[in-house]
């Protein structure tokens, strides 16, 4: 079995994040970029299937040159190889543009199963797996909390608000996962050393035969009308307790819809 895991480098959601000079896209130039958290669960799921079935695991990343840092880190967890699509013209792509590039890159790879995180911590639109399934005409089994490989197919438990649904697919499929699915392993010193020697193929849009005009800012099907930086933290509300402090607290929490 060949598994491709989609991995995105994102600004660390635990650190201070900012908007880029254009005023609406995320600043990706900073030093605190990390593997999108949910993608680590997708990698772990692929490695679990690798341990079980001997599958080949390839990472696929679309992102700027420095995304290679996250690729090396992800490789140190245990995948076999990686493909990195890096092209200035991809910058500013919306989800559809990114999906087109990923679909083209998948065209250069053998795969039976694609795994991805259910969302990214930067865009957070949760549509990429669905778009990709449409473009590739394969099954989309999204929001998985459990994946089982059966004879000639897949069995997926899909997390819902109040339980789960059971999905089955035969043939190629994309499965996106939530963080309830497993506990990602840590890399190891051995893995770090081995990652240095694993092949990372770098591709441009030209290599993929993708017309640059159909992706990036200019090719985007959606437009960001406005974006505002998060307002600075205010002074907050002080409750002075003159015997009615509890009532004031409840009133505040109710007004803010916390209770």
């Amino acid at each position: 079995m060949n598994i491709v895991v989609l991995v995105k480098q994102v600004p660390d959601s635990g650190a201070e994040r900012s908007l880029a000079g254009d005023g609406w896209s995320v600043d990706r130039s900073g030093g605190t970029n990390v593997i999108n958290e949910m993608d680590e669960y997708a990698i772990e799921e692929a490695l679990r299937l690798k341990d079980e079935t001997g599958a080949q695991v390839t990472l696929l990343t679309v992102g700027p040159d420095h995304a290679v840092d996250s690729i090396r880190k992800a490789l140190s967890m245990g995948p076999d190889a990686a493909v990195h699509v890096s092209d200035e013209a991809v910058a500013g792509s919306d989800a559809l543009g990114t999906a087109k590039v990923i679909a083209a890159a998948l065209g250069t790879l053998e795969y039976d199963l694609i795994l991805s995180g259910a969302e990214s911590t930067d865009g957070g639109v949760q549509v990429l797996p669905h778009l990709l399934a449409e473009l590739l005409d394969i099954a989309a089994l999204t929001g998985a909390r459990k994946v089982t490989v059966e004879d000639g197919g897949l069995l997926v438990e899909r997390q819902t608000e109040d339980g789960y649904e059971v999905l089955r697919a035969s043939g190629k499929a994309i499965v996106s996962v939530w963080d309830t699915i497993n506990t990602p392993r840590y890399p190891s010193l051995k893995g770090i050393m081995a990652a240095k020697r694993k092949p990372v193929t770098t591709l441009t849009l030209a290599d993929l035969g993708v017309d640059a005009a159909t992706v990036g800012r200019s090719g985007a099907a959606t437009t960001v009308l406005s974006a505002e930086p998060r307002p600075a933290r205010g002074a907050g509300v002080k409750v002075a307790d003159n015997g009615d402090g509890g009532d004031q607290l409840v009133a505040y929490l109710t007004a803010e819809k916390f209770v």
Partner: protein, 380 residues
Amino acid sequence: MTTDRLLPTDEAAAILDLAADIADRELAPRAEAAEENGEFPREALRTLGRAGLLGLPYPEEHGGGGQPYEVYLQVLETLAQRWLTVAEAVSVHTLACYPLAEYGAPEQRERWLPDMLGGELLGGYCLTEPAGGSDAAALTTKAVRDGGDFVISGTKAWITHAGVADFYQVFARTGGPGAAGISCVLAEAATPGINPQKPERKMGLNASPTAIIAFDDARVPTERLIGDEGTGFRIAMSALDAGRLGIAACAVGLAQAACDYATAYAKDREQFGTRIIDFQGVGFMLADMATQITAARQIVLHAARLKDAGRPYSVIAAQAKLFATDMAMKVTTDAVQVLGGYGYVRDHPVERYMREAKVLQIVEGTNQIQRMVIARAMGK
């Protein structure tokens, strides 16, 4: 503040990242409660071991990480920033592996070292005795040959990992008085007659067990003698040269944690309508803390780089240990001061840091002994 580091390789950066990642997720969240309850984090050490972080400075051919000391020490610093007990545990384990790694015969190394460095086992280092601390050459624990065994009897004191270690590096008297009568023996913790006592009730570092170990005629095969008979004291001192750098790195990490905490607090706390960091009296205190930490880190790394280059480093290691641990005591004390009354209670970690810093001035040669080492070299 994040520390800007000049690292020798890309993989060194990846190793530090990994250490920070594990420390953030597995160590930091547990430290406070475990210190309160005196629970040794054995499982967290296994996690570090599986990641390959319990044998970093030893050769790859024996299951080590093949990393320069410079990288190993910065990993220790990273761990100490989250939890001193764990960093200290890694340092003591590394110390306990040193005699075999450096002085063991090739077949001894092949036989025992891979397991010791593999991450599942933990070591202890048995040098100090109730009556002999600084004057380690006066130790009285005996190892007497009897057939194929040494029969070890005596009392070791202040042993870190007593009762939780899997093996002990034991220094015992096989010959006459003085340094020349001491030998080094690698004993399995499960050996009958090795009897760890109740852990001491310490001022800090309460998650790390420290106890007396009674050796009641414990029989250890003579094939477990490390180095020649009578060279044990030299081995012990050489191990401590390297070990001291570990303690110094722990001190840097601990002080950094205290400084970071105090800085964040001083930016948030207001008095007289002003952030307290903007009062010169507080801001300058923090500036001195940060500067002293940077200076200590550089001595530690300089000593490590000399060691890595195969140059003598015993005196600079003593200077690093002396400076870094005195610095950590001062910085953690000042961190309490920055928090005022809030610094004196257990709701904030700085009072714990202050209690923990104290031990670093005592272990692996008190700071008086470090000064003695330095002054003696100067007087030659």
